[in-house]
C-alpha cells in the first residue's frame, strides 16, 4: 500500500493541502484532521479541488474534529469517508507509512 498523508491546516489559510495533493501518488490516501477538516465540505471555494482529488485518492475526515467545529457530517463532500480516532489508527496501520504535512 502507498502512504497515508495527514493534513491538519485550514485550506483557506495555508497551502498545506495543495502541497500534500501535489506529492501524493495515485492510490495514496489523505486524512483531514484538526483545522484540516474544513476542506471536507461542500459549498466552499476549495470544494472543487477536493472533489477532483477524489479520482486519485481516498479521502478521509476525522469525525470528532468535524463535530467539535459545529460542521455537519451531512455536508461532507460525497465520497469522503468520516472516521473516528479508531479509524485513524486503522488507516495508519493499513497504509505503509504516514506523512504528516504540518
Amino acid at each position: 500500500m502507498p502512504m497515508l498523508h495527514t493534513v491538519n491546516k485550514s485550506p483557506f489559510e495555508r497551502r498545506t493541502l495543495d502541497t500534500a495533493l501535489r506529492h501524493a501518488v495515485k492510490g495514496a490516501a489523505i486524512l483531514l484532521i484538526e483545522d484540516g477538516v474544513y476542506a471536507a465540505f461542500d459549498g466552499t471555494v476549495v470544494a472543487d479541488k477536493v472533489k477532483a482529488a477524489l479520482s486519485d485518492h481516498k479521502i478521509y475526515v476525522l469525525g470528532p474534529d468535524v463535530s467539535a467545529r459545529g460542521m455537519s457530517e451531512h455536508h461532507v463532500i460525497d465520497g469522503i469517508n468520516v472516521v473516528d480516532y479508531g479509524g485513524f489508527v486503522d488507516l495508519v496501520t493499513e497504509y505503509d507509512k504516514v506523512q504528516s504535512w504540518l
Partner: protein, 130 residues
C-alpha cells in the same frame, strides 16, 4: 502493530497534544503496542508539572501521566529541546544549579537518539504538530 508518536507542540496552544492523546488511546484500545511517545520542539512543555489549567477544561499533562501509569507508556522529553524551554528533572536541575524542577510524573528526559530508535523499532511513526 508497534506504533510510536511524536508531539511537536506544547499543550493548549495547538490541538496537536490533544490529537496525540486521542490517537494514543485509540491505538491502545485496539490492542496495538505504543513503543514510545517522544516530545520535541515546544512539545516538551507537555511534561511540565507546574501547569494548573482551569478546572472545567482538560489537564493535558495529567492525561499523559494517567496514560503512562495505566499502560506503562514510555513518555520521553527531548533533553536539548527541554533545556531550551525550561523543562528540568531533578538531576538536570542540580547540574544546572537551579532551585527546583518541573518534570511531571510519568515523563523522562533523554536524548534525540530515543526518537531515532523509535523510528527504527516501530512499524509506524505518527507525528502531531503545527
Amino acid at each position: 502493530m508497534k506504533l510510536s508518536v511524536l508531539v511537536n507542540e506544547g499543550p493548549y496552544q495547538h490541538q496537536s497534544a490533544d490529537s496525540a492523546i486521542q490517537f494514543t488511546k485509540a491505538a491502545l484500545a485496539k490492542g496495538h503496542e505504543v513503543f514510545r511517545v517522544f516530545f520535541y520542539h515546544d512539545g516538551v512543555n507537555n511534561g511540565t508539572s507546574y501547569a494548573v489549567p482551569p478546572q472545567d477544561d482538560r489537564n493535558i499533562t495529567q492525561e499523559w501521566t494517567s496514560l503512562a501509569k495505566e499502560h506503562d507508556l514510555d513518555l520521553v522529553v527531548c533533553i536539548a529541546a527541554a533545556q531550551r524551554r525550561g523543562i528540568l528533572d531533578e538531576n538536570e536541575s542540580k547540574r544546572q544549579g537551579k532551585d527546583g524542577f518541573n518534570i511531571a510524573e510519568g515523563f523522562r528526559i533523554s536524548g534525540l537518539g530515543q526518537l531515532i530508535e523509535a523510528g527504527i523499532q516501530s512499524d509506524r511513526l505518527v507525528i502531531f504538530g503545527d
